[in-house]
């Protein structure tokens, strides 16, 4: 068996928002899996904002070099296996990145388990983004009934789950999203009580109106100006701030200045640099809760899916521009 794989590689280390010609599509022969390995073909690839950071080395993974395949979570089907826990035909979630095939020794791989929900939810509400929302809210943020929760990038895969989980736990959720359509969606589908349009509203003023006593939890997916405004003026006493993402600066070559931290002292707040990989011990309870909530009709989501590996760079660029809507996925082949 000799398989030809399609790979998206970095032609340049992108400067600013990536451009189509920062990427290259190449063909490469893939080797056979060795003892303890399996070979899988990618069906769905998730495009996540953090991937941009790995391209310049500011994330906690290694810096890729020119010619490397950018990272990415995938739903893959095993087509050949010499691994005891994975057999041919199994559907798994793994980190194949932007390529059609990958060999794995099983590290950080798990079987798809989405119950009655569509399989792509394994990359969204029932996958890493959903788990990020869940583990941060119920872990360090110590979500309590009646908390006021503010979430940025509220219509995104993580943000929309923050709204829905917090609401299930009887907290009040306010979102911030880019554009009227996204805002309306979060109110209708992601349990937000209200949503601030960062493109049209005066965020500072809106927050004073909507959260007059400040926010107890700020779930920050964007960083930047929004973070400055919230941390300086709108956090309540003993508030918890989850730094989950900073998409606003992923495309900048030099990190801009941040918020003055005086108000963090004054409000006795805690800021958590949150990385979901530290919370594996909560995974089992997440899956149990999330499957049950989905079955009860409590979880909604939106997807922005295109077909064809060749469309990966453009779809990723769209995500970086904030023009996507919902979980951004590329389907490489039929299920």
């Amino acid at each position: 068996m000799s398989i030809q794989a399609t790979l998206i590689t970095l032609k340049n280390i992108p400067k600013g928002i990536p451009k189509p010609d920062d990427f290259e599509i190449i063909q490469s022969k893939i080797r056979e899996p060795k003892e303890g390995e399996f070979l899988a073909e990618t069906i769905y690839l998730a495009l996540d904002p953090y991937v941009r950071v790995t391209m310049v080395g500011r994330h906690f993974f290694n810096t890729p070099e020119i010619g490397d395949v950018p990272r990415g979570s995938t739903i893959s089907r095993i087509i050949s296996s010499k691994h005891n826990s994975y057999k041919e035909g199994d559907l798994v979630v793994m980190e194949s990145g932007m390529q059609s095939h990958a060999i794995s020794d099983g590290a950080d791989v798990y079987h798809v388990n989405t119950g009655s929900a569509p399989i792509t939810t394994a990359l969204g509400i029932l996958g890493m983004p959903g788990f990020t929302a869940y583990s941060a809210l119920l872990g360090p943020a110590q979500l309590r009934e009646d908390d006021v929760v503010l979430v940025s990038a509220a219509s995104g895969a993580v943000g929309s789950m923050v709204g829905q989980i917090a609401s299930i736990k009887n907290a009040k959720v306010i979102g911030i999203a880019g554009g009227k359509e996204k805002c309306q969606w979060t109110i209708k589908n992601a349990s937000m009580e209200n949503c601030i349009d960062r493109k049209r509203d005066n965020i500072d003023q809106k927050l004073s109106e909507l959260c007059p006593h400040g926010v107890d939890i700020f779930f920050d997916n964007t960083g930047g100006e929004i973070q400055k405004i919230v941390l300086s003026n709108h956090i309540a006493l003993n508030s918890r701030i989850i730094l989950s993402g900073m998409i606003s600066q992923y495309n900048s070559s030099k990190p801009p200045s941040g918020p003055n931290l005086g108000n963090i002292c004054k409000q006795r707040a805690i800021i958590f640099g949150f990385v979901v990989y530290d919370y594996e011990h909560m995974k089992e309870s997440f899956i149990k809760d999330a499957l049950s909530w989905y079955k009860q009709g409590l979880l909604h989501y939106s997807e922005d899916l295109v077909f064809g590996i060749e469309n990966t760079p453009d779809h990723f660029i769209k995500l970086m521009k904030g023009e996507n809507f919902g979980k951004t996925i590329v389907q490489f082949m039929d299920l």
Copy 2:
């Protein structure tokens, strides 16, 4: 009994570093204590950096107005009492502020308990500054053996106790202080392994040399540029940052920008807006430990003491300029 009290009041709300004529010394007749109250005379007044912030309302106490007496911890002697728990002659720690006498209902008052140590340590290593160091290190910072601890304002009342407590717990401590004399003192007396002179050294470069793997705990008493450098370049994975004070910006009318928080995410760090009043449950164990450490000769301190209530404004201004050395105290009368 009719007692004439001397009060330091605010003549202006200070702009920048306070000036002598922002203060006024006045005389005022003091009333008798009512049932459940006592009257005390001040023997020692502690001058603490946070007091500057209360003068513009950025701290969590109320904003004083012109004519108010600035805050301050004191060691006071009760001279008349209608309170069940406090009798004439008792020595107490209380918050009389910048005045010779005060009436209290006993809230936030406790008896001086310094064991074999000099009484003024009730305002320093055995008082609020010592307790701040202790509760932050053993509470949220979760001090562990072999941790690398970095502390700014290292020769101050809080900073020098951070060094000594961390060292007792077998951590390695690096200080940052202003000037050669202060640095040498922290190494000789406050258990620092090394101390960076912020006035002469390149802090960024020195930290790379002294803490090549980053710091596990950053105990920040200054904020400002030091904070930016440490948070951006020198925190280790899973580090804990204690925001205890921000003396660098207490005299600025508008808070400057802060550090970009991207590295907090990357290093999965936690930032605590630390206020000692949240840790009363650790007070008893602090007193027990600190008295025992003192008796064993493990605790050193330095004091910057002047005599005479009329010298209070100048001594406070000196503290604000960073020209003090050690715990800044004004003695109002003989013990």
